[in-house]
Amino acid sequence: MVRQLFNYLKHVADFIDKINQYVGHAVSWLVVFMVLNVFVVVVLRYVFNVGWVWMQELYVWTHAVIFMLGAGYTLLQDGHVRIDLIYRTASERYKAVVNILGCFFFAFPLIYILFTRSYPLAERSFQTLEKSSEAGGIPALFILKAVIPLFCVLFGLQFLSMMIRSFLTLITSTDVPSSLNNNQEQSL
């Protein structure tokens, strides 16, 4: 019975990992798009002496989408920097406790507050189909505003996955790695 519950939890964590891995890989390709976008703007400006506001806005927004929606993926890969003076050499148990407490006291409240404060903004923006305030900008500011609550969902889910794994590590006294981790970056 208990074992079944553990298995279920592990499946939930694996499912979350898969979502963020998929999103992370997708937004990573936007990096290439962004590099080319800025480069084209530079060439147009210095060689042909032309430029459009929307093109500049496009790479700024792409950049925002990358670091906001890539946040969950970065967490999955443990890429969010930690002060690891103590953490690096600590036991799996210590790490699990820190991660659970951190999720509970820091991550979840922060993400919850941000979600509840950003969702109404995005909703209002959608209803009025708000445009960029720049003349000649992208006529869809609501997309950028919607990125914030979406970031909260993806990032919050990934912390949930982290918490489940840490919890299972504590209970079963064994490390519970993501089933993705083993062949993650090589296979794809």
């Binding site: 990573s28 990096v31 800025v38 700024v60 670091f67």
Partner: protein, 460 residues
């Protein structure tokens, strides 16, 4: 208890909480949020202030100058993954290797130029350590000298242009500068851009490289066995000078083009960074090292590092919001302005605090958390924002080198061969710490070293 005390307690609690090891971004934001709730409960804070938080984030998302960060990361990772950086070190080692200390010179120059532009001390020192430490040891270098060279040039790479640390610092100093003129009651000040800071850090960076070089030459003269020349079989490439030049020139031209376009004032940091990113990709193609899987690898790495950086900025902006809401900035301002000894002791105290915090926090956290608190007051006291930025950078770099806590030392220890004792690494960096302190004193006495070039280039 008054609200000001709560702000200071929040600062201290956050530092302690950071040491536990939970991701920095969430610890900063989360602990600030807890204190916002405590403040609300004690009637010292108005939770309504948090309504502007999403707007702050939206502001970060719309800041054009910050786009330079992922572009420079892309360039650095591309040079690294396509092995161009390693080949460059190799070629320079062969070119200078016949001289005593020549390999050291190559490590120093490559490290300072190409030190992976991530803004994370750990990543830079690890890359440099893996790339060059074994080579230097095999060549018979004194492990102490080699360790000192790697740590100092790896950390120096963080504060000489093009570096993402300077881009982030410029963004924060710009805000601080505006607040400072509010304090002084001045009109709107001249904006500070990443380009100004690049220009400001250029001569100090050269000065430090020069100091390291002098030390190396001095060692080569008084203690020739500490940095011997390469044996002929190691320097097998000597026949083909053209071959060596073929490896050295492309990356060098890239760096010169990127720096040149920035310093000449033609292009913004973001524009130069895009040219750098595309240029690095072309170099990789040219060397036959480019394929789709490298591009994928570089893109994913860029996503992760830039997400890491900006999510910290988002966490830290909540920290600043709550710290201000609790009146913490006024306490700091009042305290710094009323110190006996005036502006000088305020600056000295801030430098000491930052040096100490550098034992626990990395560049990015200090820039986002500490600089916004102290910089407005120091600028209002009459210090130039550019000079302040460079002083903070060099100071932190020194902090990262200082035993027993310096970050750079930990990371080099992590990748150094087992036969190198930790005490050797500690002893090796000591001369470099003195060089750093000397440089700090010189920059303090002659601020023109920082402010002259930007003034000359951009007529401020």
């Amino acid at each position: 208890m008054t609200e000001e005390y709560l702000a200071l307690i929040m600062f201290l609690v956050t530092i302690v909480a950071l040491l536990l090891g939970f991701p920095v971004a969430l610890t900063l934001g989360g602990s600030a949020l807890l204190f916002a709730f405590i403040g609300e409960y004690l009637d010292l804070f108005n939770l309504g202030l948090l309504n502007v938080y999403p707007l702050r984030i939206l502001g970060v998302m719309k800041t054009e100058t910050l786009v330079a960060v992922p572009l420079f990361i892309f360039m650095g990772v591309m040079l690294d993954r396509s092995n161009l950086a390693g080949d460059l070190l190799d070629a320079m080692g062969r070119m200078f290797g016949k001289l005593r200390g020549g390999l050291g010179v190559s490590v120093l120059l490559v490290g300072a130029l190409l030190a992976a532009s991530t803004g994370i001390v750990g990543a830079t020192v690890v890359t440099m350590g893996l790339m060059s430490y074994p080579v230097m040891l095999r060549a018979g270098y004194d492990p102490k000298l080699a360790a000192g060279l790697i740590c100092s040039s790896g950390t120096l790479g963080q504060i000489i242009p093009p570096s993402i640390v300077l881009i982030l610092l410029a963004d924060i100093l710009q805000g601080a500068n505006e607040q400072a003129s509010e304090i002084k009651g001045d009109l709107v000040p001249e904006p500070i851009t990443a380009i100004d800071l690049f220009a400001g850090a250029f001569l100090p960076g050269l000065f430090l490289v020069g100091l390291y070089l002098c030390w190396l030459v001095f060692q080569a003269v008084i203690n020739p066995t500490s940095c011997p020349s390469l044996k002929t079989d190691e320097a097998q490439g000597q026949v083909k000078l053209s071959e060596i030049l073929r490896v050295i020139f492309p990356p060098l031209i890239l760096i010169v083009a990127v720096l040149g376009s920035i310093l000449s004032g033609i292009a913004t940091a973001t524009e130069s960074a895009a040219v750098g990113a595309v240029g690095a990709t072309f170099l990789a193609m040219n060397a036959g090292k480019f394929n789709l899987s490298i591009l994928q690898d570089v893109s994913r790495e860029t996503t992760k590092i830039s997400s890491m950086v900006f999510i910290i900025l988002i966490g830290a902006s909540l920290f600043s919001l709550v710290f201000r809401g609790l009146g913490g900035d006024e306490v700091v301002e009042e305290f710094l302005q009323n110190l006996p000894g005036g502006a000088f002791s305020a600056m000295l105290l801030v430098m000491l605090v930052i040096f100490f915090l550098g034992f626990f926090l990395d560049f990015i956290e200090i820039i986002f958390v500490v600089v916004p608190i102290v910089a407005p007051t120091l600028i209002a006291l009459g210090y130039s924002p550019l000079w302040l930025g460079v002083m903070i950078g060099v100071n932190l770099q020194t902090s990262f080198l200082t035993p027993p806590f310096g970050f750079a030392l930990f990371y080099l220890r992590g990748v150094a061969p087992a036969e190198v004792q930790t005490s050797m690494i500690y002893k090796g960096v000591i001369p470099f710490i003195f060089l750093q302190l000397f440089a700090l004193a010189v920059f303090w006495m002659f601020p023109e070293i920082v402010t002259w070039l930007p003034g000359e280039l951009f007529k401020k």
